[in-house]
């Protein structure tokens, strides 16, 4: 038995994305089901996986066409009120070899409509690794279903096998959920925010800043209650993309609907947030005054530090942030980060390099490594951020920071410290 594998930021920064150690490369080893892996492998269990995401369109229902094992954990979504929106066409062993079930899908759609009091806006046809391997032409299947039922059908590809492809399942499903938007007259004072399936936190300053710039209507799929509201997204003058997984959807909207997009990144370093807003202002031809938000957030961080001291954090990846960027932010504010449980890739290697300069001894673990089964929590951690870090450090205060209300900008930073403050206070009062 070996100890849980880790590499320090300094050691890792000397390598490159192409020369990562095998332990940090998921294709090279078996996968340990840590809490973060479960979010990654089985996101239906919490948050938005392909199944729940496919139902982001108001009034939609889903037919999951799969062996029973692929739909089993959907039961967790029943508690969130989805039970009447899911239907299952179960495949048997002959089906998965011959593909004979494909011709039955339109009939299944017709039959499920008989169960519904109202005609759905769309039937999402969710398919799995079986169809990835059989090469099922889902566009054609969707057309056949539409012809038979008169209801729109769209594919949701739950292709776990293709998770590390250029367009992974969560990118594809975003493209699918916006695919029903149709061209209409666009309005200069309306925009979309793309990237998440739930809305940004109500207190996020981006709404105020966009209002300052003359934007009267901001649409997000997580706020659309009806199909009409959803359809309104094609009125937008432009879209703001906050998550790179929505890039393919934004490109598709640009091509089909003529809606251009601006890409921003969720970051926690205040100077970077300020800089992004400056660039956003330039892109839309307005000056966005974020001074008040900047100062207020800075004060909140100082006040947290004054109250709790210079804490040492363990940062996970099962959270609404990039683990490495968040770690950099924490270090920048004068805290320490001793451990990060994260997935290193092209997207965040630049943060690893910066981390190596500021905190070279920070230990970087892979949540996916089998050796994490042998992980022993470090004594030098004061608090944890992220559901996985909280799991590893059960005896320390921690904030999951993975709620449905999406953090962004200064409000995101404020949410982080509010949750940490609460977690630390609760732990203290429990003693």
């Amino acid at each position: 038995m070996v100890d849980a594998y880790y590499i320090t930021a300094k050691q890792l920064a000397k390598l490159s994305c192409e020369t990562l150690p095998e332990e940090l490369t998921s294709a090279k080893h078996m996968i340990y089901s840590s809490p973060a892996t479960l979010d990654f492998n089985s996101p239906g269990a919490k948050g938005f996986g392909v199944k729940r995401a496919g139902l982001a369109i108001p009034g939609s229902v889903m037919l999951l066409i799969a062996p029973g094992c692929c739909g089993r954990n959907t039961q967790l979504l029943n508690a969130l009120g989805y039970s009447e929106r899911f239907f299952y066409l179960m495949l048997d062993d002959t089906d998965i070899v011959t593909g004979r079930y494909v011709s039955k899908i339109p009939k299944a759609c017709e039959e499920l409509l008989g169960e519904l009091a109202q005609k759905p806006s769309v039937i999402m046809l969710c398919v799995t690794c079986v169809d990835a391997l059989l090469g099922t032409d889902m566009e054609r299947v969707c057309r056949a279903c539409e012809q038979r039922t008169g209801v729109k059908a769209a594919p949701a590809y739950m292709y776990a096998l293709t998770r590390e492809k250029r367009l992974p399942p969560m990118g594809l499903v975003r493209k699918s959920v916006y695919s029903l938007l149709e061209p209409q007259q666009r309005y200069s004072r309306e925009c979309n925010i793309l990237g998440f399936f739930s809305a940004l936190d109500d207190g996020c300053e981006i709404y105020d800043l966009l209002s300052q710039a003359g934007i009267k209507k901001v649409r997000e799929i997580g706020r659309c209650k009806t199909f009409e509201e959803y359809s309104g997204m094609s009125r937008a003058n432009f879209s703001i993309v906050l998550n790179s997984e929505a890039r393919a959807a934004a490109q598709d909207m640009q091509q089909r609907l003529g809606i251009p997009f601006i890409e921003l990144t969720r970051m926690f370093r205040l100077d970077k947030i300020a800089n992004q807003y400056r660039l956003l202002g330039q892109a839309i031809g307005a000056e966005l005054d974020d001074t008040e938000y900047y100062e207020k957030t800075k004060e909140q961080i100082e006040s947290f530090k004054k109250k709790h001291g210079s804490l040492t954090f363990a940062v996970g990846e099962s959270l609404n942030a990039d683990s490495f960027e968040l770690a950099l932010a924490l270090i920048g504010w004068g805290f320490k980060v001793n451990e990060i449980y994260g997935t290193v890739g092209e997207r965040n290697f630049v943060f690893v390099k910066k981390l190596a300069q500021l905190s070279p001894d920070t230990r970087i673990y892979s949540n996916l490594s089998p050796t994490m089964m042998n992980y022993v929590p470090s004594e030098d951690t004061d608090a944890a951020v992220g559901a996985d870090a909280v799991y590893y450090h059960k005896d320390k205060p921690g904030a999951d920071f993975n709620g449905e209300e999406q953090p962004f900008g200064y409000r995101g930073v404020a949410m982080l410290f509010e949750q940490l403050d609460k977690a630390i206070d609760e732990r203290r009062s429990a003693r």
Binding site: S33, L38, L91, E111
Partner: protein, 338 residues
């Protein structure tokens, strides 16, 4: 339409059943999948996951692994892992991916044994069958492989087969142990629940076997044949209900449902199960349910006053207007006992 579920979500699949039996056996279990099946087991069907450690992993297959059938890579990853994580044996659990590409599980078993030096058991599950099928395979192979030696029988030792959370709604044996203690059994081993591979190896020490789910029958018959260990079936942990003079439908795994029936006095009881039912323990009107429509029809037109079943099935009961009494079954509704 057959195989269309309109009111319930899928029941626990065969791969979850194999994993449930092997969970505490001290082996290294690899689910041969892209990640989602392991996620389903660890995140849903295996309630012990965050309580008791187990070397249960996903093979993390990617499309090219499946298209090219890269079994050597899988075995290489397995070998590396045996150097990192302790395990007494290896188990490879099939999913839809190896089923579609027709992976030769037997060959995989041999290759793994050769490379790692550990015994390997590969299970041809494919996620289309139910958990009891997987449990049956796992119990049978486990006892077949490890329980070879005839040891002196320990008087008063009872071996329980079938005690998985999927069957019992329990994540440890405490409550069930108490029940059996009251019945005079002081030395009880619940195979795979608070017990490991050693107890399987020493299975011949048991004076008697108690099979609490049909999934354990085949293994009990094997032990009976091999060591002449007598076995009986039953589920002494079933709750009692204060009902009499009613027409009742009980839905659970067969032995649990039978036990509920035995406790109902003066009632006309039918047992139904979505899972395997052994004819030897069925009564004339007992029913094996294979489709949601069959279940709806049974509830609506069976003339029952009372249905005792997991409330998970309530939505599929159509216009049944009688009394519904909740009887949780983890393999259906995913709820543990209170």
């Amino acid at each position: 339409m057959k195989k269309l579920l309109k009111h319930i979500s899928p029941l626990a699949p065969d791969d979850s059943g194999v994993c449930a039996v092997l969970y505490e056996m001290g082996g290294i279990t690899v689910i041969c999948d892209a990640g989602g099946c392991a996620g389903n087991v660890c995140g849903f069907d295996e309630p012990r996951w965050f309580k008791k450690r187990s070397a249960l992993f996903s093979a993390g297959l990617r499309d090219m692994d499946a298209i090219l059938g890269r079994d050597e890579l899988l075995v290489k990853k397995l070998k590396t892992m045996t150097e990192q994580v302790e395990g007494r044996f290896i188990a490879i659990v099939g999913t839809p991916v190896p089923a579609v590409i027709a992976t030769d599980m037997k060959a995989l078993e041999r290759m793994s044994e050769k490379q790692t030096g550990l015994a390997c058991l590969a299970f041809r599950t494919d996620g289309t069958k139910l958990y009891d099928h997987g449990e049956q395979m796992a119990y049978h192979r486990l006892f077949g492989h490890f329980a070879e030696k005839k040891l002196p029988v320990k008087k008063g030792r009872l071996g329980v087969i079938g005690a998985t959370p999927l069957n019992t709604g329990e994540t440890d044996s405490r409550a069930m142990r108490e029940v059996l203690k009251e019945k005079g059994w002081e030395d009880v081993v619940f195979f795979g629940l608070d017990s490991g591979a050693d107890d399987v190896i020493n299975a011949s020490e048991c004076e008697r076997l108690l099979v609490i789910s049909p999934s354990g029958l085949k293994a009990a018959e094997l032990l009976n044949e091999r060591f002449a260990t007598p076995f009986e079936v039953g589920f002494p942990f079933a709750p009692s209900f204060d009902i009499s003079g009613k027409k009742v439908l009980v839905v659970h795994q067969q032995f649990a449902a039978n036990a509920v029936r035995e406790k109902l006095s003066d009632c006309d009881v039918t047992v139904a199960s979505w899972f395997m039912m052994d004819k030897r323990y069925m009564q004339e009107r007992d029913v094996r349910i294979t489709q949601e429509e069959e279940f709806s029809d049974l509830c609506e037109n069976g003339g029952y006053d009372v249905i005792i079943a997991d409330s998970f099935f309530r939505r599929a009961a159509g216009n049944f207007e009688g009394r519904w009494i909740d009887l949780p079954h983890f393999a259906a509704g995913g709820r543990l006992n209170d």
